[in-house]
């Protein structure tokens, strides 16, 4: 949280500091919209902070200050980020941007005149994958796993913890550590800043930061010989080819896909062929009933539910 407070304009930072501790802990997003009230998402619900008699309105100077601090006063250093539409800051938090988009030859060149900022607070839940581990590890290797969930259900958090578990190993469950490759297209899994992961990921993790998934998976297989390969948010045609290639090269894969249910996710044209070929050994379905990270169920290759260690666990 300190890393986030460090980039916020002072007035906003002070308002947030006034929140009670347990609510501060639960902030998921801080949203800036110029000349609109400051919005916080706490526990999945929007909340507007009061300053004086009305809600705190974001002034243009607040935006300028935020951008200055994000870029350390050097806009040119954010060129690549302004093209992608988000900035990863220390601590692995991400700041999404919206505004006027400048295009060149049909490609996005940069976002200028930024009107909205969305600061997504990243929280690592070490141990959130513990209960799933014995379902996802079998006969001395990790199983090809697909994690399905809607936005904000904790897919990436779970994936990150699986990556950590795979790289660190698990002595109590007799799992040795493996070489883990992460293709982190959106800098969300490892949250790298200048190539250094901001999350605890164990000792044996190699991260290709901000690399397109399909290409990144091939690069990893060719040069880094991972035992477990981790990617986020698959869904495009070219991803599927790379996944097939990787699985046939004997690399175990863990990945996430957007979907409100397993059925729905498997209907997606890019995922359907993979499921048909029974390439995934395990499916993990997440729902957002109450807290993010609630496991709805774990399914085997034929999509039959597997018994959980305990009743549907909250991560």
């Amino acid at each position: 949280m300190e890393q986030v407070l460090a980039v916020l304009p002072e007035a906003v930072g002070e308002l947030i500091m006034q929140l009670p501790e347990e609510r501060k802990e639960r902030i998921e997003e801080i949203r800036f919209r110029l000349l609109k009230p400051l919005e916080l998402i706490i526990n999945g619900r929007p909340e507007f902070l009061l300053a004086g008699d009305g809600p705190y309105i974001i002034q243009p100077e607040d935006g300028v200050q935020l951008l200055n601090k994000l870029s350390r006063y050097s806009l040119y250093a954010l060129e690549e980020e302004l093209k992608r539409g988000y900035i990863t800051i220390k601590g692995g938090h991400r700041v999404g941007l919206a505004g006027k988009v400048i295009t060149e030859k049909g490609e996005v060149k940069a976002i200028r005149d930024i009107g909205s900022y969305n600061i997504r607070i990243a929280r690592q839940k070490i141990g959130s994958a513990d209960r799933l581990v014995s379902r996802l590890y079998e006969d001395g290797h990790w199983l090809n796993t697909l994690i399905v969930g809607a936005p904000q259900t904790g897919k990436t958090t779970l994936l990150r913890d699986l990556a950590r578990t795979a790289s660190a190993g698990c002595r109590t469950k007799n799992i040795p550590s493996s070489k883990v490759g992460i293709v982190d297209e959106r800098s969300e899994i490892a949250g790298s800043v200048k190539g250094i992961p901001q999350f605890v990921l164990g000792e044996r993790v190699d991260v290709l930061d901000a690399c397109p998934k399909a290409e990144g998976m091939m690069m990893m297989i060719r040069s880094m010989s991972p035992e477990v390969l981790i990617v986020d948010e698959i869904g495009r045609k070219e991803d599927v080819d790379a996944i097939l290639e990787a699985m046939n090269a004997g690399v175990q894969m863990m990945m996430t896909v957007h979907g409100y249910s397993l059925e729905e996710a498997l209907r997606r044209p890019a995922i359907f062929p993979l499921a048909e070929m029974k390439l995934f050994d395990r499916y993990v379905e997440l729902t957002r009933t109450g807290r993010p990270g609630t496991v709805q169920g774990v399914y085997d290759r034929d999509r039959k539910p597997l018994p959980m260690e305990k009743r549907s666990s909250s991560l």
């Binding site: 200050q65 200055n68 601090k69 870029s71 350390r72 006063y73 050097s74 806009l75 040119y76 250093a77 060129e79 690549e80 940069a110």
Partner: protein, 170 residues
């Protein structure tokens, strides 16, 4: 007693002459340093994408003399989180104009350049640096010429002026 006064006058005028000559001699040297500094800054921005505070501190280590101190000042002020680059740059400039042999023109070039720093993408940033470098190039040519013309003159003028005053007073 009068001899002592004469010696005092002679020493002080000579010293003033040498000081002026030093200023004329130092200016092209410092201008060259400044040009190297801006060129390095261009590399830091274009190829390193290094934020300004870090870049300034790098530069202060590479360079020497008042120009290095200028970048150190600006970098330190940025780190201490002033409200804008311009403010940090101004902090550095007020220090630089006192410590260096630069003329008003050079300080003005730097001031205008500083107003553009950190506000543009790489391409435009590079254009601004090139522009400032072109201006400094012109100043450097002028400073070199001034050194050739005036350095010796200031020295001898100091000595001769001292002698003149002594002769008039004796």
């Amino acid at each position: 007693m009068s001899w002592l006064g004469a010696v005092c006058i002679f020493i002080s005028t000579t010293w003033i002459g040498f000081e002026l000559a030093k200023k004329v001699r130092e200016r092209p040297k410092q201008l060259r340093q400044l040009k190297v500094g801006l060129q390095s800054l261009e590399a830091e921005i274009m190829y390193g994408l290094i934020p300004l505070d870090e870049a300034f501190l790098h530069l202060s280590r590479q360079l020497s003399g008042p120009v290095a101190e200028f970048f150190l000042h600006a970098g330190k002020s940025l780190e201490a989180s002033v409200s804008s680059v311009q403010e940090a740059w101004e902090n550095g400039l007020s220090h630089l104009s006192a410590a260096s042999s630069f003329k008003k023109e050079e300080i003005e070039i730097l001031r205008q350049f500083g107003a553009t720093l950190g506000r543009h993408d790489r391409e435009n940033q590079q254009k601004q640096i090139r522009l400032a470098l072109a201006h400094l190039e012109r100043e450097l040519a002028e400073a070199n010429e001034a050194q050739l013309k005036h350095e010796k003159m200031y020295k001898s003028l100091g000595i001769l002026l001292g002698l003149l005053i002594i002769i008039l007073l004796v």
